[in-house]
Symmetry: C2
Subunit: 132 residues, 2 copies
Amino acid sequence: MITNKLKKASLKSTFQREKILEYIISRKEHPTADMIYRYMLTLSPCISKTTVYNTVKSLTKTNLIKSVKFLGQDEIRYDGTVDTHHHFVCEKCGKIYDIEVLCQNFNKKEINEHKINNVYAYFTGICKECKK
Amino acid sequence: MITNKLKKASLKSTFQREKILEYIISRKEHPTADMIYRYMLTLSPCISKTTVYNTVKSLTKTNLIKSVKFLGQDEIRYDGTVDTHHHFVCEKCGKIYDIEVLCQNFNKKEINEHKINNVYAYFTGICKECKK
DNA sequence: GTGGCTGCAAATCATTTGCATATAC
DNA sequence: GTATATGCAAATGATTTGCAGCCAC
């Protein structure tokens, strides 16, 4: 659970960190810093955007969350699912869906003599909701 | 050739556009706006960064180039190869290499009922130069 | 001749930084 | 008690915008 995750990552357990991490993990919205900030405002009128940025940086460094960046969106998004997976981004509504992409190349440790550490892949298009 | 490409895209042929498009296509550096700007300065002391931004926007809209965005890099990069291909980004030197990623899923027109228009995929790690 | 380009200066906006205060352990 | 977090205000830096003059066609 949340407190343990922080402890394991050697991060001090604070109200802000608990709530921010819980929010990113439990909702599947891949929120931006601003979305996290606005959520935190509903819990406490006193929360700083700097703290949001500090927190997501700590959480990312300790691998409790991942950050992702998409073309056509200015803001970095945060993802509570740290296992390898990929995304679909709707060009109309901006919503982000998790998807599975099976590809043997994604498991390679090396391509063209370059050592591979991470794989990022995403599709863009029109989501099933916006197609209606 | 460059002039024809502009003509076909219904873009007026100007010195700035010719040189910027030629630079992006001929070198394989996936340059940033700033790299393009610094290159243009070597050709003429009078070039505006606004023009660089205006130009890459026109070129992208008309599909003469593509733009790409990578985690860990603040700037948008421009790519003169418009055919589908993918990238490797070195975490150390920031250099970008074109790579081939064969994956049947990349040809799908639909995933989980979402209509797919584009696929973006890139690997990060340590490039063969930096491994030495 | 005119609509589309260029380029200056100023604005925008996400993110970062410096630093003083507060708090988890 | 101390190292680490929080949060304010100010800075940064890529990109955008408004607008005047210029030039390709």
